[in-house]
């Protein structure tokens, strides 16, 4: 804990040991618009670096994943599925292979080669980044301090209040420039500890070599095509999270939130100054 607390000090604000929470007045020239603002520590270097590597990997995985799915935009349940078997559902898009009955009179260019190389390379980088992030966040208390919701916030009353204020599109208060609200915390934890592990698991469950060593990885999911279908849905959930995440950042103040995630520092209005 820092020895000196700024007047705006908020109990949930990060006290990462890497970033001393010392309120430093920013030069007048840079703060002409907000003359009474101070810059304070927001995101640790670890959070920022892993956040942007994850962003990069996610886009690479998304683009290459879309390219891969275009080669066979049909989904099945169970072990097997092909052009001769009934589908669970089909994406209403043209395919990049001419044997797929897509219903379109043309075939898109095949981009599977580099897409697969890029998909797995990005997956590796993302896994290493994720492991680094989780290991250090456990050690330095980032999860405990910044992502675990306060006990009082996890009540139906508090949650519904937070949901209602989100739905009313209320602009976040000053405290939220320095700390996550309860819905943010729960969604980040869900993405980190549920969606990401599940997307990795369903991905590995499609690998014939991996499941030869760990057959339970695919058997539990109900088969290789089930794993592929689930992989698709978890990816959709992650894309949905991304859209809401970027939307909320935009709404809360794109410049200030981006500055915080790039420089690590956030401007907060001085209270009672």
């Amino acid at each position: 804990m820092p020895a000196v607390r700024a007047p705006w000090y908020h109990s949930r604000v990060s006290d990462s040991s890497c970033v001393p929470s010392v309120a430093v007045p920013i030069p007048a020239t840079a703060s002409a618009a907000v003359p009474t603002a101070t810059m304070s520590a927001r995101h640790s270097a670890l959070v920022r670096v892993t956040h942007w590597i994850t962003t990069l990997c996610f886009f690479a995985l998304l683009v290459s994943g879309i390219e891969i799915v275009i080669s066979h935009p049909r989904f099945y349940w169970g072990e097997t599925g092909n052009d001769l078997t009934p589908t669970l559902f089909k994406l209403p898009i043209p395919a990049s292979r001419n044997l797929v009955p897509s219903g379109y009179g043309y075939v898109l260019p095949d981009q599977n080669g580099w897409s697969r190389y890029l998909h797995f390379q990005s997956a590796w980088l993302l896994v290493f980044t994720g492991l680094l992030y989780v290991a250090f966040s456990l050690l330095n208390g980032h999860f405990r301090k910044n992502l675990m919701p306060d006990g009082a916030d996890v009540s139906w009353r508090a949650l519904s209040r937070s949901i209602a204020s989100h739905l009313r599109l209320e602009r976040p208060g000053a405290a939220e420039a320095l700390s996550y609200n309860v819905l943010q915390r729960l969604s980040y934890l869900f993405v980190i500890f549920v969606l990401f592990p599940f997307v990795i698991w369903t991905g590995l469950a499609m690998s014939p070599a991996f499941v030869s060593a760990v057959p339970a990885a695919v058997n539990i999911l109900g088969g290789q095509q089930s794993a592929r279908t689930l992989h698709f849905f978890v990816s959709l959930a992650l894309v949905l999270f991304l859209l809401v995440h970027v939307g909320m950042v935009w709404f809360a103040g794109f410049k200030s939130r981006m500055r915080a995630m790039i420089t690590g520092r956030a401007a907060t209005p001085k209270e009672g100054a």
Binding site: P20, E79, N82, N98, N112, Q121
Partner: protein, 277 residues
């Protein structure tokens, strides 16, 4: 890297209170930190060098390890090779065999194939050469004279579709044993009658009990649509490693002399040599 908590709490010394633009970055890059970082970086690079040496020695570097995607490809191949050296591809029950059998899209068959097909494949030969004591050429009848094995395994295409079939044939290890492979052999390269189509696998896959020279399927002959009369089945890798219409295989300790030296026709067309995933 891990950074121990600073022994001294951040203080508001006079310099910190001075509103100077430099103070917007309160972290001091101490000499100790620089030295630690430098040492860690040196150790990291040295460690990577050692890891690369060990990987090379134990055959964990794929032939398409160069280029932008070499990092991911090497990690995939090395980790799966360590994890799956002896593991068996999942086998299924007879009731799970896909009906009707799925014949995949194929390029038009060439004249050499058509003339052999006209003769009922009686003259189909599999020649075996390279680092072997007894180079040989096998007819289908000779291949069928070895004890036949069958497996019910999945063919999984990189496109996303899959099917299960019963594959009947002779384990490649049986043929490699017959021709007496040299101990320094590292790869088996195999060629289709279609000259655009050739692949290679390492010895772990070549000697794997489920890697079959397949001549039968679902209780009958192997249909042409599924690679008949002879297909190499590598069930722990994606379908494109299971090359159809095999006529020749050669044993080698280096893939440099084959094509562009990337290991097979797949990387030359932009696809990974190792297709365990």
């Amino acid at each position: 890297m891990s950074e121990p908590p600073k022994p001294e709490p951040p203080t508001l010394g006079p310099s910190k209170l001075e509103p100077s633009p430099r103070d917007s970055s309160p972290r001091n890059l101490s000499r100790r930190k620089l030295i630690t970082t430098g040492l860690a970086a040196t150790a990291g690079i040295g460690g990577l060098g050692v890891a690369a040496r060990i990987a090379q020695r134990y055959g964990l570097i794929p032939p398409d390890h160069g280029g932008f995607y070499g990092f991911g490809e090497t990690l995939t191949y090395a980790s799966q090779r360590l994890l799956t050296r002896h593991s068996l591809a999942r086998e299924f029950s007879r009731s799970q065999i896909s009906q009707p059998p799925f014949p995949n899209e194929m390029p038009p068959l060439n004249d050499a194939f058509k003339s052999l097909q006209a003769g009922g494949f009686a003259d189909w030969r599999l020649s075996v050469s390279g680092m072997v004591a007894k180079p040989a050429s096998f007819s289908l009848t000779q291949l069928k004279s070895y004890p036949s094995r069958s497996q019910i395994t999945m063919v999984q295409c990189e496109e996303g579709w899959s099917y299960i079939g019963e594959w009947i044939g002779v384990p490649l290890s049986q043929i490699l044993q017959t021709v007496e492979v040299h101990p320094q052999a590292r790869y088996v390269v195999y060629f289709s009658i279609d000259p655009d189509w050739w692949e290679s696998i390492d010895m772990a896959d070549a000697l794997h009990p489920q890697t079959f020279l397949t001549y039968g399927m679902n209780g009958g002959e192997l249909p042409v649509g599924n690679g008949g009369p002879l297909r190499l089945r590598v069930p722990r890798q994606l379908g494109y490693k299971s090359v159809k219409f095999i006529t020749h295989l050669t044993v080698t300790d280096s893939l440099k002399g084959f094509g562009k030296g990337l290991g097979s026709s797949a990387p030359e067309g932009g696809y990974a040599w190792y297709a365990g995933i």
